[in-house]
């Protein structure tokens, strides 16, 4: 019941918002309360989750379409727990941080955000492949409208591109899901995780699933939808897109790619980790060349998500641990970066770097808060980003020193372009108009402070997160190694 409540609460909120009269303050209040209730529930789940649990907790199951063998089954383990908490945390932050940015069609906007939260939570919690697919695809429509209606100038193009790319991948996964069912007779993830598949079946099923996940992550040659979508989306949309939607792909790789098809994953690992490293370097290099701050952040996402994929496919416990933590970190830090860009854009109405300069002189508090987030994204020690990337690199060193060396180059690259961006925007001669750069509103400040507190918490004391995911990841890692012996 707990998990259903978590998924249904935002969806219910969305319906309520849709039905209420168009009184902006009322709508915002209802949406905020729903987000906070969801966050409270997620926090309680996190706190109540026993660290030694290896499997799924609070599993609930109701038959759904018996003729098709599909059931409504939810559950949470150490892996999805972190992402659920991240989801529940990022939505209120995104709403608060962009409170004044959306003035038109507030009702539809809030309703879609709530719907989106429900669908994302469902994706992380679903333990039935059909249900998972339903939530996975249900994310598309609200996101499509968020980009398409409140986005920037090329919003129509970006929204359609986002939709077509993602859907092209997901339908392959759909066929994969059906074939998996015809082979095993079940969509139940709990049973599928216990059912070893013959390697020849695994191979192409793995690629069918990975097509969907790799586009969503996105992995290097499939990333072209990302810059368009991230840049054109409204700020809250970018935060959710980067912070959570990309994690759906990374989560899929970890849970289903590795969990269901361990042997095929092993065979594909060298290719995928190579692509991940190419993505790290390519994303970093392209980010380096951007004039538009939002584009810079978008390309930095490609680079940072490369670490997640790398950690996933080096098959060491540290690597996977780092990958999972990096998912959370990237959600916080890149979500934060997009909020910063939003704050700047609200005031300057441009995102070109040379239009800024000396922001620290007119908005000192904002500059200070910004630096924390930039440091976190650049993975400076003491922030959350450091812990995640360090673990990924450590895990990679054990598997392949050359890849680790290249990926470490990516860390340096990201520090360079992020700090350079910070230097050009916040410091240097004052080029911005002090009248337009009004101080942070309390809502913006609260959102940023909340983010920074979590960033510092994970940076200094990651134990609560690490210990809750430890057991589940060890189980996964043990299975992978067992599968490896079968191959050899």
């Amino acid at each position: 019941m707990m998990l259903s409540a978590l998924v249904l609460l935002p969806i219910l909120g969305s319906v309520v918002v849709m039905l209420l009269p168009r009184r902006e303050e009322l709508l915002r209040a209802v949406a905020s309360i729903t987000f906070l209730l969801t966050l409270a529930l997620a926090a309680w789940l996190f706190w109540a989750f026993p660290p030694e649990e290896r499997g799924f907790r609070w599993v609930e199951r109701v038959p759904w379409i018996p003729a098709l063998g599909a059931s409504y089954q939810l559950g949470v383990d150490g892996i999805s727990l972190l992402l659920v908490l991240l989801t529940a945390f990022l939505f209120p932050v995104a709403l608060l941080g962009t409170w004044d940015a959306v003035r038109q069609r507030v009702k539809e906007y809030l309703s879609l955000l709530l719907l989106l939260e429900g669908a994302i939570l469902g994706t992380f919690l679903a333990l039935d492949l059909v249900l998972f697919y339903v939530f996975w695809e249900a994310v598309l429509i609200p996101m499509y409208f968020l980009i398409g209606l409140w986005g920037g100038e090329r919003r129509r193009y970006a929204a359609v591109k986002f939709f077509l790319f993602t859907m092209a991948g997901s339908v392959l996964m759909l066929l994969g899901i059906i074939v998996l069912y015809l082979r095993t007779g079940t969509f139940d993830v709990l049973r599928l995780l216990q059912t070893p598949l013959p390697p020849q079946d695994q191979r192409w099923l793995f690629w069918a699933f990975t097509a969907a996940f790799a586009i969503k992550v996105p992995l290097f040659p499939l990333h072209t939808w990302l810059p368009d979508a991230h840049v054109e989306a409204p700020t809250a949309g970018s935060v959710i897109l980067a912070g959570l939607l990309l994690k759906m792909g990374a989560y899929g790789l970890l849970r289903y790619g590795l969990g269901l098809f361990p042997q095929a994953a092993r065979e594909a690992a060298s290719l995928l980790s190579l692509l991940a490293v190419v993505g790290i370097l390519y994303g970093g290099a392209v980010a380096f060349a951007q004039q538009d701050i939002k584009k810079l952040v978008a390309y930095s996402s490609i680079s940072h998500l490369g670490f997640v994929v790398l950690g996933t496919f080096v098959f060491t416990l540290q690597g996977m641990h780092g990958a999972l933590l990096q998912m959370v970190n990237h959600g916080l830090s890149t979500g934060g970066l997009f909020l910063l860009v939003g704050v700047l854009y609200e005031r300057a109405h441009t995102r070109q770097m040379d239009a800024f300069g000396g922001v620290a002189k007119v908005m000192p508090t904002f500059a200070a808060l910004s630096l924390f987030i930039v440091f976190s994204s650049a993975a400076l020690p003491g922030t959350n980003g450091f812990v995640g990337e360090f673990l990924v690199l450590l895990g990679t060193f054990r598997a392949d020193v050359r890849l680790a060396a290249l990926a470490a180059g990516g860390v340096i690259l990201s520090a360079v372009y992020l700090l350079w961006m910070a230097q050009r925007v916040y410091f240097g001669p004052r080029r911005v108009d002090p009248d337009r750069f009004t101080p942070l509103t309390w809502k913006e400040a609260t959102a940023l402070v909340a983010l920074i507190l979590v960033i510092l918490w994970i940076g200094l004391y990651p134990k609560p997160l690490l210990e809750r995911s430890e057991a589940a990841l060890s189980l996964l890692s043990a299975r992978l190694h067992a599968a490896g012996e079968v191959v050899r």
Partner: protein
């Protein structure tokens, strides 16, 4: 007497149609004329009750009529489509001054034909039912007789439809020449060149009616010219009838020719999905777009028949129900709009709908999402089932074509959905509303949503149709 009982639903609907024709003469004032719709709906609901209250399977009229699971499923489907078709039409007809009893009567008669197609086990009756389904539709297409486009639509539909009937008839003749019988149950063991040719022509004739590529060219022109609610109804009922006839014909009459018809139907299905979806991409006129979308959906519907299994038949039947709801719903939204006294049938006409009528816009997005096959809608569950059937039957390539064309269809369905929210309202376009049509759209929207969220019970019920698969 017992024989007549098996035909009770058809008799009730036909009686209602006749009653409407007579009642049309004395009823003059608008209040009195409301009776026309009530009479029609009454007939439909009585027939629905008669269908649902009889469970036993029987044959009647020396085996010409059979009442089994398939008959029941398709009867319910036809009656549901007729009910929604009636309520969608009423406000439009009154608004445009076309409300004549004949409209309701014709609509009901074609529903009788569609029901008989599902119940017929004899090719002669199948042909008669096919004509009973089609001829009223030709007239409905031309019902806005003061508009040249409507006349043209009626004539085109009539010419091509008669041609298709001729092809079907010729197929029957060849089949009879080989087998010496038109009884589907007795055709099963036969084989021979004439039978093969005849069976091929029968398929072609039905493919015409269902707008299957390459026999689809009439559909966009006819739908574009027909009055909006008539286009809505014919785009669904003709497909229901044709699929019902195919579902009877293929497994019963042609089990010996399995290797022949399965690849044939599979190729037709693939071509229809590809051509329908690609054709829809270029359309700016919503009626034409929905016409191409109805062609594309004929392809998805054939996928289940191509599989030739019980799963395939159930999947097709379920998808047919989903298609009926989403197609009628999408047309229904357009029925509720008008542009300067004319039909609002262009994509731009949807502009500003999100502000003018949030509920209508939300329903339209739901129908578009369902037509694409995005969860949680009935369209998704239906497609999921169809792909399962195709993969199970070893038609992996067909399923691949199905998903690829679904991705293509995103482009045009979402363009329309997007226009409803993003574009500026076009001057002259307004929401005319209408209690009846609004109710029709609401029912369709609810059905699409429920079919996606709790599809289980419906699918379980549709499973009774699978009994015809040997």
């Amino acid at each position: 007497m017992n024989d007549l009982r098996t035909l009770l639903p058809e008799i009730l609907v036909a009686t209602a149609a006749t009653a409407v024709l007579f009642a049309d003469l004395p009823l003059r004032t608008p209040v009195q004329r409301r009776l026309l719709l009530w009479l029609s709906l009454g007939g439909v609901f009585l027939a629905l009750w008669a269908t649902l209250s009889e469970a036993a399977s029987t044959a009647a009229f020396d085996g010409m009529i059979i009442r089994d699971g398939l008959t029941r499923v398709f009867r319910v489907l036809v009656l549901g489509v007729a009910a929604v078709g009636l309520v969608l039409s009423r406000d439009y007809l009154v608004r445009t001054g076309l409300e004549r009893g004949e409209y309701y009567a014709l609509l009901l008669f074609s529903a009788v034909g569609a029901q008989l197609l599902a119940a017929s086990r004899n090719l002669l009756l199948t042909f008669l039912a096919l004509e009973l389904l089609s001829v009223p539709l030709y007239v409905l297409a031309a019902f806005a007789r003061h508009h040249r486009s409507s006349q043209e639509a009626g004539l085109k539909y009539f010419l091509l439809g008669s041609f298709a009937s001729g092809v079907f008839l010729y197929g029957m003749a060849l089949v009879y020449g080989q087998a010496g019988t038109l009884d589907l149950a007795r055709l099963g063991g036969e084989d021979g060149l004439l039978l093969r040719l005849g069976a091929g022509l029968l398929l072609v004739g039905l493919a015409y009616k269902a707008a299957v590529v390459p026999f689809h060219a009439w559909a966009p022109d006819v739908y574009e010219g027909s009055p909006m609610p008539a286009a809505a109804y014919m785009s669904v009922i003709a497909k229901v009838g044709a699929i019902a006839a195919l579902a009877r014909l293929i497994p019963l009459a042609l089990p010996g020719l399995v290797d022949l018809w399965r690849p044939f139907v599979a190729v037709l299905s693939a071509m229809t999905m590809v051509v329908g979806n690609l054709g829809a991409l270029w359309q700016r006129n919503l009626k034409r777009m929905l016409a191409y979308s109805s062609i594309a959906h004929a392809g998805y519907l054939l996928m289940g028949l191509a599989a030739g299994t019980a799963t395939g038949l159930v999947a097709s039947a379920y998808y047919l129900a989903a298609y009926a709801l989403m197609q009628l719903g999408a047309f229904g939204v357009l029925v509720l709009l008008e542009r300067m006294g004319l039909e609002a049938d262009e994509v731009q006409d949807l502009g500003g709908l999100g502000d003018r009528s949030p509920a209508l816009a939300a329903a339209f997005v739901l129908f578009m999402a369902s037509l694409v096959g995005i969860p949680p809608t009935a369209g998704f569950v239906g497609k999921f089932y169809l792909f399962t059937a195709a993969l199970e039957a070893g038609l992996g390539w067909l399923a691949l074509v199905g998903v690829a064309t679904s991705v293509v269809s995103v482009a045009y369905y979402l363009r329309a959905a997007y226009a409803a929210y993003a574009d500026e309202g076009r001057p002259g376009v307004r929401v005319v509303g209408g209690w009846w049509a609004g109710a029709g759209v609401a029912v369709a929207a609810l059905g699409v949503l429920l079919g996606g969220v709790v599809g289980g019970p419906v699918i379980r019920w549709v499973h009774i149709a699978a009994g015809v698969i040997p």
